[in-house]
């Protein structure tokens, strides 16, 4: 078989030797008959025929020869590309940039959005919660009995588990006895948790239902990071006892690296529900995750769960709102929720840049091909076949594309490493990004096809020239045909539109970011330090509980000691510190105030925080009216609240003075009114991008606190040391976590916006450069084509400015057209992405106007430069050569 393939592919192999034998045989035949040597050779040559012609005939029919011909084209193309560096080198560079950039961005999107979790078959894991449509987006949590409902009544689930919706307050302090105690994020889960996720411990065993029984021995599973960082990667850890928050807990397993679900969990322990919670459908604090059976669609499982949730509302009217509905979200979507729009925007931008680079490269190649028209005409006149000419231009396009693909590969590789290092922390799985070959092939394929198509189409249109006319003009270039001009102007317009979109989007993000960091986010004291101090055994399911009274006393003593420390100007505590980020479901609490009760049936919502006195002074939120809480606001005194200015405005609008007015939280009983004693500045408590409506209550009259805030003359690290020292003096078994200044929290929260802004600016600048190149080549080409005409007009005394204007009229018209198309597209895009913008409207005239002007200015500059050079150069030269 191999032999035959060889015979098929390499037909001419050994042919000269074979013919030489034949020649010798014929010669010997004649010699034997008595011919002289020269006579014999002449005879042999005559009988055999022209050996080289025969070899050529054989070779031409061989497939190898076809390849060789293709290789010749490529070699020729390489030489041509080398000779026309001015046209091909920028085209190659531009294409490489576009391919590299878009592939780099796609690889990030792929890592974060398309395979964001370290779990197998992640699309079949769903997160289940509920919503009460009457209350808008208000999220209802699940109660423990609903786990049983989901497990027993829905057959399409393989396994279901629950975990709390709130992801803070379940940390544990690990005491090794050797080193300082550390606080580790933990999550209580029901025993099927890891079976739902589809992962198993790499060491030891998974949870079983026995671990969950009340009174079972306390056990925990550690994350790989916890195991390595704090337990020295002990291979015999399974079965050993560690001290967590003062309690001996048996480690039963260690998870694989990367499994830190949810929210960077470092350890998991059984939910260990008590009898009260098992039975009560109103004890809602959970969310469920479920793995569906293979081949069950999302829509089907969603409708099944919804039917169950509605049925439960009928079966248990005392426990559930009658209109409750199920909300079933794929885990992937839940996990990457907030990174999603940002990444899509960047992906869109990179695709636009790819498009811009293809347009620009096509434009340059078009110029080159049109410049070659005389050559084409000459060769056609000399009898070169059109197919052969097309093949040559095709090869040139292919070489450009191939070089661009190689360059793009290198660029993408470097860009990914750079972007991953440089990206803000907190985008899950970003570090898993690597050069994505699939996307690379896509981008490279798109660019290569576009280049090839453009080359061939331009070459084809160039061949439609009137041969005679083209030749008659001799060395002078003919000006562009009407069709060529139209194509060129279309390219310019499209490119301008893309540039406007990218630059304007970048502008929107710059303004958003500036507004975010400059407009009072509401926390003036960037140097104030905050630390997480979730007292061990806190939370509903602690293996060892600290009573509310203990907690208050502890915090009061700690704060007192801190305040007494020299240099400390203020110290306070808060339930969840500002800008802490996602801590599970974003619960907004409903409330009503006296004045608004009758007018507004729908309860407004607000962020609810428990604080100690001095909180406002520490973080730098101004108190604009009334007073701060003080030592007199205790459990015994009248319940009070401080509200943010935007809420106060609503009360004023109803005709009441805010201070002294009363409001009531939705869970309070009918007569449980809080009296407003103060109004503080409006802050962006949850996210820097969003103004929040805040209600503050004294911790003594409400829930406990989890975070310390402290400010002083010392540096943040000294402040942290003071906190640790003071804490150790009170209780050496406590540990702090999450040490950060308010400034750092703000930076972390705005990091993504900043990252977006810088990337988009980068995209925008690249696009502007590409657009400028396009205009530059267009004007250069027009000038080159009309050199003679210009020279004559100048010799006749035409003013230079007028000539320059003539040259630039059409390209600049195309630029204006592109802007007219780009601006509505930008407005539309920005409207779609408006949730990412802050204090900027998608129609912001300043941004749109500035971008339009800038792009026009750049185009004008890019066009004026060659025009001016040409007009001031040796204007008469073309006349001599003509």
């Amino acid at each position: 078989m191999q032999k035959r393939w060889r015979a098929w592919f390499r037909r001419a192999d050994g042919l000269p030797e074979e013919m030489e034998f034949h020649f010798q045989a014929l010669k010997e035949e004649r010699l034997a008959l008595g011919d002289s040597e020269p006579e014999a050779e002449r005879y042999a040559r005559m009988r055999l025929g022209n050996a080289s012609a025969i070899t050529e005939t054989v070779r031409e029919t061989s497939p190898r020869d076809r390849l060789e011909r293709a290789a010749r084209h490529v070699r020729l193309a390489l030489r041509t590309v080398g000779r026309h560096k001015r046209a091909y080198l920028p085209a190659t560079g531009i294409l490489a940039l576009g391919i590299g950039m878009s592939v780099a961005m796609f690889s990030l999107v792929d890592a974060v959005l398309l395979r964001p979790l370290p779990f197998p078959d992640q699309d079949s894991v769903e997160v289940i919660w509920k919503v009460d449509p009457r209350a808008g987006k208000y999220v209802e949590e699940l109660a423990y009995p609903e786990l049983g409902d989901l497990q027993q009544r829905i057959r399409d689930f393989q396994s279901v588990a629950v975990m709390p919706t709130s992801l803070y307050g379940y940390s544990r302090v690990l005491q090794s006895g050797v080193r300082e105690p550390v606080q580790i994020e933990g999550t209580p889960v029901s025993h099927d948790f890891f079976r739902v996720l589809g992962v198993r411990p790499v060491l030891g065993r998974d949870f079983t239902s026995a671990d969950e029984h009340p009174g079972a021995a306390p056990v925990a599973i550690l994350s790989d990071r916890t195991w390595r960082t704090y337990l020295g990667a002990d291979p015999h850890i399974a079965g050993r006892m560690i001290r967590l928050s003062g309690v001996g807990v048996t480690v039963i397993g260690v998870m694989a690296p990367g499994v830190e679900f949810p929210r960077g969990a470092g350890l998991w322990f059984p939910l260990g529900v008590d009898q009260n919670v098992i039975e009560h459908r109103t004890a809602t604090f959970l969310q469920a995750i479920g793995r569906v059976q293979p081949h069950v669609s999302h829509a089907r499982i969603a409708s099944e769960v919804d039917r169950l949730i509605r049925a439960l509302a009928v079966e248990h009217p005392e426990a559930y709102p009658p209109a409750q509905r199920a909300v079933v979200t794929p885990l992937v979507q839940y996990w990457t929720g907030s990174s999603r729009p940002h990444l899509w925007i960047l992906l869109g931008a990179s695709v636009l840049l790819l498009a811009a680079s293809i347009l620009s490269a096509s434009n340059l190649i078009l110029s080159h091909v049109l410049a070659c028209r005389t050559e084409i005409a000459t060769r056609l006149a000399l009898g070169t076949r059109r197919g052969q000419l097309l093949a040559q231009f095709g090869a040139e396009g292919a070489v450009t594309a191939a070089l661009a693909v190689l360059g793009g590969l290198a660029f993408a590789h470097a860009a990914i490493r750079f972007l991953v290092q440089w990206a803000p922390a907190g985008i899950p799985r970003l570090t898993a990004a690597e050069l994505n070959l699939k996307s690379f092939c896509f981008a490279a394929g798109a660019a290569a096809l576009a280049t090839l198509a453009c080359t061939l189409v331009s070459a084809w249109s160039a061949m439609q020239v009137d041969l005679e006319a083209a030749l008659r003009e001799g060395a002078a270039r003919t000006s562009l045909s009407r069709g060529g001009l139209r194509t060129r102007n279309l390219f310019i317009a499209a490119q301008t539109a893309v540039t406007v979109i990218l630059l304007a989007m970048a502008g929107f993000f710059v303004l958003s970011y500036r507004a975010m960091i400059s407009s009072g986010i509401g926390f003036a004291h960037r140097d104030a330090l905050s630390v997480n101090l979730a007292l061990h055994g806190s939370g509903l399911f602690g293996t060892h509980s600290v009573s509310a009274a203990d907690r208050r006393l502890f915090y009061a003593t700690l704060l007192q000691r801190l305040r007494e420390t020299p240099g400390i100007t203020s110290a306070a505590a808060v339930l969840v510190r500002p800008l802490e980020g996602a801590i599970g479901w974003e619960r907004r609490y409903e409330f009503e105030f006296e004045g608004g009760r009758d007018k507004d049936r729908e309860l407004p919502k607000a962020n609810f925080e428990a604080i100690t006195p001095d909180y406002f002074r520490t973080v730098g939120t101004p108190l604009v009216e009334g007073r701060d809480f003080d030592a007199h606001d205790t459990e015994q005194s009248a319940p009070v609240a401080i509200i943010s200015e935007n809420l106060a405005r609503a009360i004023r609008a109803s005709g009441h003075a805010p201070v002294g007015h009363r409001l009531r939280m939705s869970w309070h009983s009918v007569d449980d009114w809080l009296t407003i004693v103060g109004v503080c500045g409006t802050a962006h408590y949850r996210s820097a991008a969003e103004e929040s409506r805040d209600i503050f209550v004294p911790t003594l009259q409400s829930v406990g606190t989890n975070y310390l805030v402290i400010r002083g003359r010392q540096s943040p690290s000294e402040l942290a040391a003071i906190v640790r020292q003071t804490l150790a003096g009170l209780d050496p078994e406590q540990a702090v976590a999450g040490i950060a200044t308010i400034g750092e929290l703000i930076d972390a929260d705005t990091a993504r916006c900043k990252f977006n802004m810088i990337l988009l600016l980068w995209f925008g600048v690249c696009a502007a450069i590409l657009a400028a190149t396009g205009i530059y080549s267009a004007i250069s080409e027009a000038l080159a084509a009309r050199r003679r005409e210009i020279a004559i007009r100048m010799a006749l005394g035409a003013p230079r400015a007028r000539l320059a204007g003539d040259m630039m009229l059409r390209p600049l018209g195309a630029v204006l057209l592109g802007e007219l198309a780009g601006i509505p597209a930008t407005v539309w895009l920005a409207t779609v992405a408006s949730e990412l913008l802050y204090r900027v409207t998608p129609r912001d005239p300043a941004v749109l106007g500035a971008v339009a002007l800038f792009v026009f200015g750049v185009s004008l500059g890019a066009g004026l430069w060659p025009a001016w050079c040409a007009l001031n150069g040796e204007a008469a030269a073309p006349l001599h050569t003509a």
């Binding site: 032999k3 035959r4 015979a7 098929w8 037909r11 001419a12 050994g14 042919l15 030797e17 074979e18 013919m19 034998f21 034949h22 010798q24 045989a25 014929l26 010997e28 009988r47 055999l48 025929g49 022209n50 050996a51 012609a53 025969i54 005939t57 054989v58 029919t61």
Partner: protein, 112 residues
């Protein structure tokens, strides 16, 4: 395509058939094939020996014949061709096709 090329094609077609026929008894090199054709036609067909080679290579590529280098009777390296099974069948097919064609042409050309 020019008329000349068409003539070559026709010649090549018959040439292939004749090569297959000549190779029937056993392997032969290019020179021997050419001489065999001439001998069998009683020297009526005087072919250009070189034109054998494109035909030989084409037959080889199509798998009708196989080639190997061997030492010739004159003690030189020569390329010897032999029929494959497919070639043997092809020889039969082409022979019968030729016979019907020759017969048809003969009928056309016989005196009216």
């Amino acid at each position: 395509m020019t008329d000349e090329a068409r003539q070559v094609d026709i010649l090549q077609g018959t040439l292939s058939m004749m090569i297959l026929r000549v190779l029937g008894p056993g392997p032969a090199n290019g020179y021997e094939i050419a001489r065999a054709i001439e001998r069998r036609s009683d020297e009526l067909l005087q072919i250009e020996h070189g034109s054998l080679y494109p035909a030989l290579r084409r037959l080889e590529a199509r798998g009708f014949i196989e080639a190997e280098w061997r030492v010739s009777k004159t003690n030189r390296q020569a390329r010897y061709y032999k029929l494959t099974e497919a070639g043997r069948q092809q020889a039969v097919v082409e022979h019968s096709r030729w016979c019907s064609l020759a017969e048809a042409i003969t009928r056309v050309m016989r005196p009216a």
